[in-house]
């Protein structure tokens, strides 16, 4: 029983990170109709920039904020430089540009920060907390808190602010949004910045537990995308649900089958969901047909 609880905690910990990355996919997909292959690199940049700023001597909180801000700026610049020139065109071209851009971001991180794994200090020092006999690392609590905060802030932004309504209008019907005076181009830029910031939060929160390196982006991209597809691409609530479920599936596989198969779970989930239920677990019956 204790063992199961421990696996559930581990699963919800990783699942929260996948949820943050999945939210980034969902936001950009809603705005552009394309999959952003650089999403995993934003996760990587968050962790690596956090390490970089804290090594500069900034207090951890400040370093984290700086890392999130810089990553969001990178997301916005990425959209302006690479995606904007071909916006409205073939989604294949947008995807190709994000693939190339992901490689460039990864290489930039390699040249700037080097090839080694880096660790970030835990947000609060101290022994693990006890929950019903299971150990919960303090950093795990941070991960949950930050994910919850990000989700609440995002929900508030989307539902309660004019800016958020403009974002939603853009994603539902871009031309109609433009007709009523929404600057749709700016909304796409903001969605990249927002997606990058969410990825950065994930990368920062998990860096004290797993360490980070320039190369972690692609793998996290696949997992975040599998989570987004599992929930239902384009729906933020579903993305979070998909992330948590994927995390649980991984940790239960690692715990009861073999840790070696943990990384296979996301790919298999991705293929099975595409084959059996492409609208995702929480999607309606509106199957995307050709």
């Amino acid at each position: 029983m204790d063992e199961l609880l421990q696996f559930l905690i581990a699963g919800l910990k990783n699942g929260s990170i996948y949820a943050l990355v999945a939210l980034g996919f969902t936001i950009v997909f809603a705005a552009t109709g394309a999959i952003n292959f650089a999403q995993g690199e934003f996760f990587m940049l968050g962790g690596m920039l956090g390490v970089f700023f804290s090594e500069l001597g900034l207090p951890l909180a400040l370093a984290a904020l700086a890392a999130i801000a810089v990553t969001a700026a990178v997301g916005a610049v990425f959209e302006l430089l690479a995606v904007r020139p071909i916006s409205g065109g073939d989604p294949l071209r947008i995807i190709m540009v994000t693939i190339g851009g992901a490689v460039v971001l990864r290489q930039l991180a390699l040249h700037l920060f080097g090839p080694d794994e880096r660790a970030l200090a835990p947000f609060t020092e101290g022994a693990s907390l006890k929950l019903l006999g299971a150990a919960v690392e303090r950093q795990t609590v941070w991960i949950w808190a930050l994910t919850a905060l990000a989700v609440v802030a995002l929900a508030f932004l989307y539902r309660r602010t004019t800016f958020g309504r403009a974002m939603r209008a853009t994603s539902i019907q871009r031309d109609a949004a433009r007709l009523v005076g929404v600057n749709t181009g700016a909304m796409v830029t903001w969605s990249f910045a927002l997606a990058a910031a969410l990825g950065a939060v994930g990368g920062l929160a998990v860096a004290p537990l797993t360490q980070t390196a320039f190369s972690v982006g692609a793998g996290m991209g696949v997992k975040g995308f599998a989570a987004a597809i599992l929930g239902g691409l384009g729906n933020p609530v579903a993305a979070v649900g998909g992330g948590l479920i994927l995390g649980l599936m991984e940790s239960l596989t690692a715990g009861y089958v073999d840790p070696l198969y943990k990384d296979a779970v996301a790919v298999i989930v991705l293929l099975v969901v595409l084959f059996v239920r492409p609208q995702g677990l929480f999607g309606g019956s509106g199957r995307v047909k050709v």
Binding site: A34, F37, L92, V97, V103, A218, G219, L271, L274, F275
Partner: protein
């Protein structure tokens, strides 16, 4: 001689140049570089079919090359199969892997295949590294014999070169035939408009799946050739970086063409070994190119897609048209 006959002669001249190269180049290492160019060309021909004709992206082609290479290695070293059988098995295993990925991913509109192949690639890298009893783990698997084609011994630098380019040439011919006939028109049609193609009776899912399986098959055969030429396989070769390299070659080569991607494959391979190609090149220059190699591929993809979506093929095609009007 008018322009049209001149253009018709170009492929013949190129074939002659490629075939005669070992007679001119005596340096064994340089010949090996050109052999690698042929192996990459074989992969890129399949990728060009997928990307340039069917409009789909693969970020996992290095994994199919790896599947082929490891299948060939295991079949020849551990099972002691004849080489030709191992070669065929390598193609079959890679093609089957392609089918498993393509069926779920290509049923839907959108670009799920790209993500599925990215995940598959990560998974295969892990498998090559962790499945020690079969793959030899991080240490790799050595002692792979040279290709054995019955009466023809393929064990020298020149004969290996001819074998690799022979296979690449046959693949090119086969793919060219496919693209210039009904399946090729179907592919181009669905690249233009999937609904339009479907309305004209094109089985769009079938065409896309078959295209992907063929490109995985060619990658698998290229992997078997790689394993046989090098004699050793290790997990560090078949990575995401290699998949990106293949993709960059296909993108730089251009859409709707085979000559463009073929040229890009050869050029980018030679760039990797520029110090062998140009002996006088300063050490620092060669090292800089090698350090920033992946940056070059990533940037090339971004810049070509934004500024020159037609790629190299477009430059080549535009010139004679200008000549005709003049």
């Amino acid at each position: 001689m008018n322009l049209r006959t001149a253009r018709a002669l170009v492929p013949l001249v190129l074939v002659a140049v490629v075939a005669a190269l070992p007679l001119v180049v005596s340096d064994r290492f340089l010949l090996k570089v050109f052999t690698f160019a042929g192996i990459n060309a074989l992969v890129v021909i399949g990728l060009a079919l997928l990307f340039g004709h069917a409009g789909q992206v693969s970020l996992g082609h290095a994994a199919f090359v790896g599947l082929g290479a490891y299948t060939c290695a295991v079949c020849t070293v551990r099972l002691e199969w004849p080489w030709l059988l191992a070669f065929a098995a390598a193609g079959a295993v890679a093609a089957f892997g392609g089918l498993v990925l393509a069926l779920p991913s290509l049923r839907l509109k959108g670009h799920y295949l790209a993500m599925a192949t990215l995940g598959f690639g990560e998974l295969m890298t892990l498998t090559f590294r962790e499945a020690d009893p079969v793959t030899g783990g991080v240490d790799g698997l050595g002692g792979i014999p040279f290709p054995d084609l019955g009466p023809f011994a393929v064990d020298g630098a020149a004969t290996l070169y001819w074998l690799v380019w022979g296979v690449a040439g046959l693949a090119l011919l086969a793919v060219y035939n496919v693209t210039s006939q009904r399946p090729g028109r179907a592919m181009r049609a669905l690249h233009g408009s999937e609904q339009g193609a479907q309305a004209c009776g094109v089985d769009i899912v079938g065409v896309k799946v078959r295209t992907f399986v063929v490109s995985a098959l060619l990658a698998g055969l290229a992997g078997a050739l790689y394993a046989s030429v090098v004699g050793f396989v290790s997990p560090s070769v078949f990575t995401l970086a290699a998949s990106v390299t293949f993709l960059a070659m296909a993108v730089l080569g251009g859409t709707g063409s085979l000559a463009g991607p073929l040229a890009a494959a050869v050029l980018l391979t030679l760039l990797q070994y520029i110090d062998a190609l140009i002996p006088g090149i300063p050490r620092e220059t060669a090292q800089t190119i090698q350090t920033y190699q992946e940056d070059i591929y990533g940037l090339a993809i971004v810049l070509v897609v934004i500024f020159a979506p037609g790629g190299l093929a477009r430059l080549w095609r535009r010139r004679p048209r200008g000549g005709e009007t003049a």
